[in-house]
Amino acid sequence: MPADVQMSERPTSHPGAPGRLPGVKPFEQVVADHGGTVWRVCRAVVGPLDADDAWSETFLAALRAYPGLPEGSDVRAWLVTIAHRKAVDIHRARARRAVPVAEVPDHGVVEPASDEHDELLAAVARLPERQRLTVAYHHVAGLPYREVAELVGGTPEAARRAAADGVAALRRALGTTAAARPVVPVPGGAR
């Protein structure tokens, strides 16, 4: 087979976006595929009050950067990384807005529980930051602990312990009655 035939089937590289075939997957597909997951991650990480803001900032930043995303990238991990940075921004902004208090809470905003599901969300929001983030990135976003560790710092093993502590804390907070509801496995994620 002539070399040029083979070449023609490969992505043409062009300046500024090495190795990426410019435009194959419309951004809409990224939103459709991952919008729900990113929303759940935002909700777990920054709490219900700021979740929409975090989602919007994440996808706006992603829209801006999308043409330069290398081909074959893990799009979900890329989005969660952006969401993590936006969550940090939101926490900082919140800290600036906050009226100084004698004791600084180490947890997120807690919404009043209105039903059983909200009770779990509120418990997630009350987790210490490291546990909350590792639970969100591993159990909600489905990232492996190696990637969770890259986001929150420390070793993968430390991230795994923090997430396990978080899950244990959630059990304690909510009581450990036998699950009447079937447990849905985390699709393709938790390892």
Partner: protein, 204 residues
Amino acid sequence: MTIPTNDTWSRDDLGGVPRETHLATLREHLVARGEAERLVDVTYRTVASPVGELLVAATPLGVVRVAFDVEGHERVLEDLARRVGVRILASPRRLDPVARQLEEYFAHRRTTFDVPMDLRLSSGFRRRVLAHLSEIGYGATESYAQVAVAAGSPRAVRAVGSACATNPLPVVVPCHRVLRSDGTLGGYVGGLDAKRALLALEAA
């Protein structure tokens, strides 16, 4: 509430489930903010019609593509991603004006389209052909040969055929009004049934 008893937690349990309407609202806001910051290459929506579901796509300059179902909307969007830009977002609302005009056209309440057009997907002779097609009036027809003359290349009859076949804006730019000299249909990007239906609509 009940707690899962093994170590596998559901994403939905932990993060909550956004209502579809809620996500739709967030997505509309994303389109609005993206457009305000000039980050959106193309927005699109679909419009129901008697000739099947039409895909309508626009750049900030105007309508850039109308596509029939038979063309494969997903493939058309991927082609737009390649030729115009990957920052493509669905937006039911942003394309309301052209959608409304299409609906009026199919309801016999409109004979011409008055929307900004972005003809970047067509160039050279093909673009000259498209410019002439817009001058063929509602209900009228011309032959490929007549169009070739009008576009300044009387012998380029076959090229007129391919210009029509690659018209990025069918229906809006009326390539369905071009027939063979003997009055038979010739070809059509949306299939001959669609061409027949459009001609019948305009004759009624």
